[in-house]
């Protein structure tokens, strides 16, 4: 095959891949504009409307379809994701920092940490529920589920930071020490500003993984539901396009999050570029 033919087929393959990737999302987005309250979650679109978006915010006249019971769940999920993000990132950064030096048993500790993202979520969730029951601990999203979220997202933050530290030039820290600066202050003034882009990535990982975590939360969160559980709960009754409208809004929220991340990254890109140039010289 000649070069341009190769290019063409690779292009077609990529296009197909993108369709598979985003097709479901596009279908969902289209159906969210179905008319209401009589329109269902299927084609054809009877009439284009923003009824289901208004329905989400309680702006429509009362009908037989109950509003999505997500308000509390959304707050819980955001709270849980923020808590998880903070704790996992702090743990990830400190653990990766510890792994910069070889220590006795570092191999075992490494696999113990990574195990947290390998084991099946449902089993861990169930296990946590049993442990809580045996010990007589109440299950809550902010206690038992929170612990599981940290166990799950901490390895991701840890691996991201490990990769960042791998490329970090330790002589900059040694230079700071030799100027009389304590290791703690060196970390704050030299190391942290330079690894900050990596810390942002670790935070993003932890937040998004926790925000839509389902299987672990299912058994471990007790009475009060998180957002993924609440949405799943509405499926078991009857599916209306209001779920799709909510899906679109959550996706937009995720994009906003990514946008913030990108903006913060852009700010530190100049710094990263400077490092790159210094390494070349």
């Amino acid at each position: 095959m000649n070069a341009s033919g190769m290019k063409l087929s690779l292009g077609a393959y990529t296009a197909l891949f993108l369709v598979f990737l985003y097709g479901p999302l596009v279908v969902l987005a289209i159906l969210s504009f179905q008319t209401g309250p009589e329109g269902g979650p299927q084609f054809p679109i009877i009439e284009w409307s923003t009824y289901w978006y208004k329905h989400l915010f309680g702006l429509t006249p009362p009908s037989r379809i109950a509003p999505l019971p997500i308000e509390q769940a959304l707050v819980r999920s955001l709270g849980l994701a923020v808590m998880t993000m903070i704790v996992s990132t702090v743990l990830g950064v400190t653990a990766a920092q510890a792994f910069r030096r070889k220590f006795r048993g570092s191999g075992v500790v490494f696999y113990l940490i990574v195990l947290g993202m390998m084991v099946p979520g449902v089993l861990v969730g169930l296990g946590m529920a049993l442990v809580a029951k045996t010990l007589g601990i109440d299950r809550h999203w902010w206690s038992t589920a929170f612990v599981l979220h940290v166990v799950y997202t901490f390895p991701f933050a840890f691996l991201v930071m490990l990769a960042i530290f791998n490329r970090f030039d330790p002589s900059m820290e040694e230079a700071s020490w030799s100027l009389g600066v304590t290791p703690a202050r060196t970390f704050r003034k030299v190391t942290f500003p330079l690894i900050f882009p990596g810390v942002l990535s670790a935070m993003l990982f932890a937040f998004t993984l926790s925000y839509d975590e389902f299987s672990r939360t299912l058994f471990a969160s007790g009475r009060d539901l998180t957002l993924p559980l609440a949405i799943y709960g509405t499926f078991s009754v009857e599916v209306h396009p209001n779920v799709f409208a909510f899906g679109v809004l959550t996706t937009l929220f995720s994009f906003a999050l990514l946008g913030t991340y990108a903006a913060l990254m852009m700010l530190s890109v100049r710094r990263a570029k400077r490092i790159a140039i210094q390494e070349e010289a």
């Binding site: 900059m172 700071s176 020490w177 100027l179 600066v181 400077r274 490092i275 140039i277 210094q278």
Partner: protein, 358 residues
């Protein structure tokens, strides 16, 4: 001159490799000391042990008369200039230089104006005026070198360790920075310990030259002594200006694979194994039939090639046992001679010019 740094029997092992094999040395205050060693001789390890980045397996380090083996790097008061400069890429030139003053544990300078004054003074000392606000990536290699030096000097350490500080610069700049480093050191009055793999740099810069050889100090002397009287065959080989022959001494004659050389009046230096050394520029090349004086030694060899370096020509000859013999002829003494390819010549030197190790 008082001793500022003293090392006693320092050892350091990595796995099976002995990086430092019992280092003993005493460095005077207010001096430029160069530490010369081939790659793998442990010179960077020695520097890192003195700075506290690595811990020695045994021995004692005394700085200003106090033991510092267990003192962490930030409490030692010893500056370090890295080969890659290790500047802080998120800070400007002035911020890099002010970093130590503002952030050090002992006696940090909180007064903004005082910091500015000290930074301005050191910037003019190292010749960086006008670049204060630049990012450290917007300046040239030589300027970065100066920032690294200024950043260390502004904290007024008693001693500065420099790990191949000129290694990252191009040849032209390297020659200029040599003179500048010496001048800056004299103005600050601190001790510089300058590690290098280049014999020319070590000889040119050091008031004292230390030669490190497989984890030991092989020689510690001034440049002239090191160059003219290397303490061991290993030092002579590393200086890259001696033809060396292994062999043995039998009744006033050195017997080697390339020939037998009558010895001069000087007593041989002590060494682990006997060797005979003759400096490249002590040898003259003559036609085979030329007569020699009574105090001269002569061997025959085939001409291989020569290398022109401006002030001198280095000619390479193959001895009968395959060994390569190098002769350096200074062009200020005579016009360059051309030798016939594979031609056979006599190589002649004075008996007294040779160094003999036994």
């Amino acid at each position: 001159m008082s001793t500022v740094l003293q090392l006693k029997n320092i050892t350091k092992t990595y796995g099976d490799m002995r990086a430092l094999n019992g280092i003993d040395l005493a460095l005077p205050g207010d001096a430029y000391i160069s530490l010369l060693g081939p790659s793998g001789s442990g010179k960077t390890t020695l520097l890192r042990v003195i700075a506290g980045f690595e811990h020695p397996d045994g021995g004692a380090i005394l700085f200003d008369g106090k033991r510092i083996d267990t003192v962490p790097p930030h409490k030692r008061g010893i500056g370090f200039v890295f080969q890659n400069f290790a500047l802080f890429p998120h800070l400007s030139v002035a911020q890099n230089i002010a970093f130590g003053l503002e952030n050090r544990d002992v006696d940090p300078v909180a007064d903004r104006r005082l910091v500015d004054t000290r930074v301005r003074d050191i910037i003019s000392l190292v010749g960086l005026s006008g670049l204060e606000g630049r990012a450290v990536t917007q300046i040239s290699g030589g300027q970065r070198q100066r920032v690294a030096l200024a950043r260390t000097l502004v904290t007024e350490p008693r001693m500065v360790l420099l790990d191949e500080p000129l290694g990252a610069l191009d040849a032209n700049l390297r020659a200029r920075m040599r003179a500048e480093l010496r001048a800056i050191r004299e103005r600050c009055g601190v001790t510089f310990l300058h590690v290098t793999g280049s014999e020319a740099e070590a000889l040119a810069m050091g008031d004292t030259v230390l030669v490190l050889e497989s984890g030991r100090i092989a020689q510690s002397a001034d440049s002239d002594t090191v160059y003219n009287r290397p303490a061991s065959p290993a030092v002579a080989r590393f200086l890259n200006c001696y033809n060396l022959f292994p062999g043995r001494i039998e009744g006033g004659v050195f017997v080697g694979g390339s020939g037998q050389f009558a010895l001069g009046s000087a007593t041989p230096s002590r060494a682990a194994s006997p060797a005979y050394a003759i400096r490249y520029d002590r040898v003259s090349v003559r036609p085979r039939e030329a007569a020699i004086a009574e105090d001269e030694i002569r061997i025959e060899a085939n001409f291989v090639a020569s290398e022109y370096s401006g002030a001198a020509v280095n000619s390479f000859f193959a001895l009968d046992d395959g060994r390569v013999f190098e002769v350096e002829s200074h062009l200020s003494h005579a016009a360059p001679e051309t030798y016939a390819e594979q031609g056979r010549y006599a190589l002649v030197w004075k008996r007294e010019d040779a160094l003999v190790y036994a």
